[in-house]
Amino acid sequence: MHRISLLLSILGIFILLALYFLIPAQTITGQITHVSQVKKDIYKLEMYNQTIYFKPNGNKNMINLVNRTVSIHISSSESQFPDYIYVKKIIYNQKK
């Protein structure tokens, strides 16, 4: 029982890790109305129906996103850290 429970825990964690790569992320689509930098590396993207705090990968000029329609792929669950959510990928649907 002791060893079986350990093995099943490890197996469960591997399944969850596999799911992280296999499950398509949730997507929010909309036009960005306002962008502001709230602190180092953290940007606030305001859309008509949603506000997202996020940390971009690399050096991106986030201000250019205003008025663009984007699809934001969210990888995390309803995080226990309410300050911002993890963003997997931003897809630019329309040119400015």
Binding site: M1, L6, I13, E78
Partner: protein, 399 residues
């Protein structure tokens, strides 16, 4: 005035319901109220605020009952499952509830008494605490592991729980804490009770006046949690359970004081979530977030209204919890406990599927296996707090 009274009573009733029903959280009711409030113009914002405050505080008190009697916890009370269950098996389930609710009542009083100081200092100390908290959590992690007699199983349990927490928070699962904590602390405890064919002894039903608190350790526990919980409550990602673990390492408590401290921490966190909303405009609980949406900005008079509602609700909820707990102690005597346990297992399974989908079930089963592993390895279940501590450390170190 009648509207305010009705809001207060409805808040108490809603908090009793959410506290007793495993898986139904106050955030669900609060967000429902926020969504319907604009359509129902007869509800004034003050009444809505009173409803949310009284519901939140009542939930804290009542929530200990299913945790202790049924092993079905929520995020505010899961640490009470194990010591509470041990006391239940000795016929002292009602006494465990009394310790928890005395703790919660002390937490409300302490929070209101120290609030004038914290309202002044929170904006100044916020960034300072933010920078030191990951190192405090790393220190606590090492402490949790190396105080065990068998260090290797403790390291394995801690790391696996850490990985489980990280995986859970990075997956698109709704209500991630429900399957995670239910598996690690609830279902694993119930499963082992069922396997060991635990028979529930006759439950003692002491009156409040029969409870003799050992003053010195209780004061020590109260002082340590009153100092640590307010600072922790300012920060995202740190819950009342992490605060209790830190405070336990400071004051080295026995079982009863631990339950008392968890009650106290839960209440302090709830009241302080309203204070942080007022001082730094950060909502640290679903209830505070709902109030923020209803009022847009929170004024000094609003915070006074919230304090009064919390204080009055804590008095009502205290006696309500005593009554309900006595009924539960009669119930566990009369009904076959193995059947109750089986029913609770099935119920938690259904709740997980309903609120967290099938990914939640994988998390629930993995957490249950890990909970069983730590129990059979004779290491403390507090090592499984790594499921919350490790993601919090990574969050603070990378932001």
């Amino acid at each position: 005035m009648i509207e305010i009274l009705i809001a207060f009573i409805l808040g108490i009733l809603a908090g009793t319901f959410t506290g007793l029903a495993p898986g139904i959280h106050i955030n669900l009711v609060a967000s429902f109220l926020v969504s319907i409030a604009p359509k129902l113009e007869i509800i004034s914002p003050t009444s809505a605020v009173i409803f949310i405050s009284s519901m939140s505080i009542t939930h804290i008190f009542i929530d200990f009952i299913p945790s202790i009697y049924l092993g079905a916890p929520e995020e505010d009370s899961f640490l009470t499952v194990l010591p509470g269950h041990e006391m239940l098996k000795q016929g002292s389930g009602h006494e465990a509830v009394i310790y928890a609710i005395i703790g919660a009542f002390s937490g409300v009083i302490v929070s209101i008494l120290i609030s004038p100081i914290f309202i002044q200092i929170i904006p100044a100390i916020y960034s300072l605490i933010y920078s030191i908290i990951p190192y405090v959590l790393i220190f606590v992690s090492f402490f949790l592991i190396f105080r065990e007699d068998s260090v290797l199983p403790a390291i394995v349990g801690f790391l696996l729980a850490g990985f489980l927490g990280l995986a859970t928070f990075h997956l698109p699962v709704k209500n991630p804490l429900l399957p995670l904590l239910t598996g690690l602390f609830g279902l694993s405890t119930i499963f082992l009770s069922m396997k060991q064919k635990t028979s529930m002894p006759k439950q003692l039903k002491p009156r409040l006046s029969d409870i003799k608190l050992d003053k010195k350790p209780i004061i020590k526990a109260l002082l340590s949690i009153s100092f640590i919980a307010p600072f922790c409550s300012i920060l995202p990602g740190i819950g009342s359970s992490q605060a209790t673990i830190i405070a336990t390492e400071v004051s080295r408590n026995e079982r009863k004081e631990f339950i008392f401290m968890q009650g106290c921490a839960s209440a302090i966190f709830m009241v302080f979530s309203f204070i942080t909303l007022y001082t730094i405009n950060k909502a640290r609980s679903g209830s505070a977030s709902a109030i923020n949406e209803l009022l847009q900005s929170i004024s000094f008079s609003s915070i006074i209204v919230i304090f009064v509602a919390c204080l009055l609700a804590s008095i009502v909820a205290f006696f309500l919890a005593l009554k309900v707990s006595k009924q539960f102690s009669l119930l566990v005597e009369k009904v076959n406990y193995s059947k109750i346990s089986l029913f609770i297992c099935i119920f938690l399974f259904i709740i997980t599927i309903a609120f967290s989908s099938w990914i939640g079930v994988v998390i629930l089963l993995t957490g249950t296996c890990l909970g069983i592993y730590t129990s059979l390895s004779n290491i403390k279940k507090s090592n499984l707090m790594a499921a919350l501590i490790v993601p919090a450390i990574i969050y603070y170190l990378t932001n």
